[in-house]
Subunit: 235 residues, 2 copies
């Protein structure tokens, strides 16, 4: 078993995410895919199985390989982490910086980061604006021992792009806690909501592939505009 089947799965995953196969439609048959990628049936089957586990496709005996409808536009797939712009399929995403400073990890943050007390952290507060409308407020901490440098230009744009392309770090995965939360008066104003409206809120703990936690953040989304989608498997 080589690494090959994973590379094929990656290519198909990109294709699916880019919308190459329209929702509800099918992938080519295993035989056609074998030809396309010039691999054995076993390799092709392993690639397909991986995409099934990842929640992109499902197989129906005798009728083919179908794309799951969760690859949908306008919603945020919380089991992926692709950045707002890719997720919402629009380049029209910008950020307004509300706060940008260096703080020291208190007990709670040190626990969340699994770092020492008083470790220096960047604190970034941003209003994310999509198509010129307020979309979410992000409160993020970055471990300064890992993300050693940030500036206003970087955080006005994509911090994650800077981390992956500038610092060449491998972002791995995140744990998320999703809940429904009250908004402060200031948040209501920023998100242009009404008093008493609540937000869909997500707490993220983000790891590099080496297991280090570099980002702990909370995002509050305009609950009138946001839906999250997710895939689940039965156990």
């Amino acid at each position: 078993m080589g690494i090959k089947y994973k590379e094929i799965a990656d290519i198909l995953e990109e294709d699916i995410l880019k919308g190459k196969y329209i929702e509800g439609s099918k992938l080519p048959t295993i035989e056609e895919l074998m030809k396309k990628f010039d691999v054995s049936k076993n390799t092709m089957r392993s690639a397909i199985e991986l995409l099934v586990i990842k929640g992109y496709i499902y197989q129906v005996q005798g009728s083919g390989i179908f794309i799951r409808p969760t690859v949908r536009e306008g919603s945020i797939n919380i089991t992926n982490m692709r950045g707002l712009s890719k997720e919402l399929n629009t380049p029209d995403v910008r950020s307004e910086i509300l706060k940008f400073e260096v703080v020291k990890a208190n007990k709670e943050l040190a626990k969340k980061f699994r770092c020492n007390l008083d470790t220096e952290l960047y604190y970034v507060e941003r209003l994310r604006i999509v198509k010129e409308e307020p979309f979410s407020i992000e409160y993020s901490y970055f471990n300064k021992e890992i993300i050693t440098y940030l500036n206003r230009e970087i955080i006005e744009n994509s911090i994650y792009e800077y981390i992956t392309e500038g610092l060449k770090y491998n972002i791995g995965f995140a744990d998320k806690i999703i809940c429904c939360e009250k908004l402060t008066k200031k948040e209501v104003e920023l998100l242009e909501l009404k008093n008493g409206d609540m937000a869909l809120s997500v707490e993220n703990t983000v790891y590099l592939t080496n297991g280090l936690i570099f980002d702990v953040s909370k995002s509050k989304y305009n609950s009138n505009k946001t839906k999250f989608i997710s895939v689940a498997n039965y156990r």
Copy 2:
């Protein structure tokens, strides 16, 4: 490549979900696991990789295999589907039936189920009660051509247990839409909330492994008591 590595992954998955390895702690080393399961390094590595993809564990070079903290008590992992009782790790879950009837699929439901207009559906409305406190309200439709029989006794208990153990169907996966929603006056009363409170709501489309949609439902959760957890991978 046999099926073996998947069986090992299943065993380890069950162990992790049952809390055999406490949060934040490690799995045994690859070498120890190879010995335990009496398999080759390649097979063991494949099993570990599968659990990484499924979001249970992560590997840190030189320091071991760690359990991801999302395997946490008291929260609902929305990327799993294990039923409330298993998810909250308590047997103290019961249901109060609010409505139980047979209806015909209108245009909207026919589209969601990918079934014909006027197909007969069971409609079940339940208040889910955990540890004698109202936890969620569930509005579920079941395609009667697939789930041919339901009665009050079944729906007072676990419908999914009946489907898997009674009807011997293989439940496959679900697509979920999560949002923050207003509650009706009746829902506020049932969930013992305050007027103006919102619910964390989940719309589920549930498939058998053969791709047939048998259940379309919406659950509204008491937003003061419920947190969802989820894992995400960077792409």
